[in-house]
Symmetry: C2
Amino acid sequence: MSSFVLYNYFRSSTSFRARVALNIKGIEFDYKAINLLKDEQHSEEYQKLNPMQGIPTLVHDGKVIPDSAAILWYLEDIRPEPPLQPKDAYLKARMRQICEIVNSSMHPYGNLKITKALTKDYGFSEEQKNEWFHRWIGQGLTALEKVLPEIAGTYCVGDQVTMADIFLYPQIITCQRFKVDLTPYPTIMKIFANCDKNPHFKKAHFSRQIDTPEELRAKD
Amino acid sequence: MSSFVLYNYFRSSTSFRARVALNIKGIEFDYKAINLLKDEQHSEEYQKLNPMQGIPTLVHDGKVIPDSAAILWYLEDIRPEPPLQPKDAYLKARMRQICEIVNSSMHPYGNLKITKALTKDYGFSEEQKNEWFHRWIGQGLTALEKVLPEIAGTYCVGDQVTMADIFLYPQIITCQRFKVDLTPYPTIMKIFANCDKNPHFKKAHFSRQIDTPEELRAKD
């Protein structure tokens, strides 16, 4: 039997990506909590697994796979069913467009590493930090709301969960934490609501992990 | 016959990624220059193609594909030969790890959009902007120099050009522009030198494009 170990943190949106993909593929895994607030990602031991000192990292039968995108595609390669991508090459490209809007144009500007550095090392006030977050994340949301109506159904690409949903959903949770007004994005929010009802997304949610603090735990 | 049109800019590292992949696949394309310094990426016409207002965008037989990663994988899907990835699933994951260190942990912090905003809108001096660039890009270089010796040969993953080289090479050119000291990264620089000799990389180089200004043009 294969063994899977996931190094991750309940609240991290990149960790969510890996958890939900493992759930959809029906893969049981050992949950190793890395507390970002205690800087555990910078420990010498963890750096050996992940030199970028980021999360998540998946270990599959001793093979180490750092980075959420690398993990999703690795799982897709070794367990193609159920697929996390459409079959058609052009639809796949559109799916990747959505993933990349989140992955390289939104998440890098709103993650904990950067928002912490802005206030701690670059003198940003809380207000300036929020303006920064709203600016870059808002550009991404606006673009997504233009792109999605062309290809969305129940989910981002038609009626099947794909990697696009896996990238989008946790980014919207982060937006809610930063009190972004999401009413201008009805297509995004319709998809978010559908993901929210999906049992695999529920199981991967930050409120239901072993390292979720009591006050943030889901009540159901 | 298929028609390919690439909207791009000579100096952009994401544009380079698309150009070199097209070259390796042996695909001729129509070069449409989008001048970032004249904000042509924000024109109403271009926004219709790419709502993120970024470059590059590929148009293939009328199908619009924004985003460099989406373009590379689309080309890999429609023209699998020669491949831009290894066959083995685990090596593919390691390749993606390298791509993602550049794509989501280096490039977003050093691109023109951000470095311009830091000085124009957030009061950074030129010195502070350089510190910011060196900090985040340095973290990526340090991680890459740890990862690459495990899997590199002539190129990032063995002796075949893969997407990892396509992401790495233009990022190093940007580092050279920002006068990053690259001597602590001998593995990266060995691979960079090998890419530099590769005819597909040469043809895609910023110094050899139709929108390259005279003073930056290659002399050979």
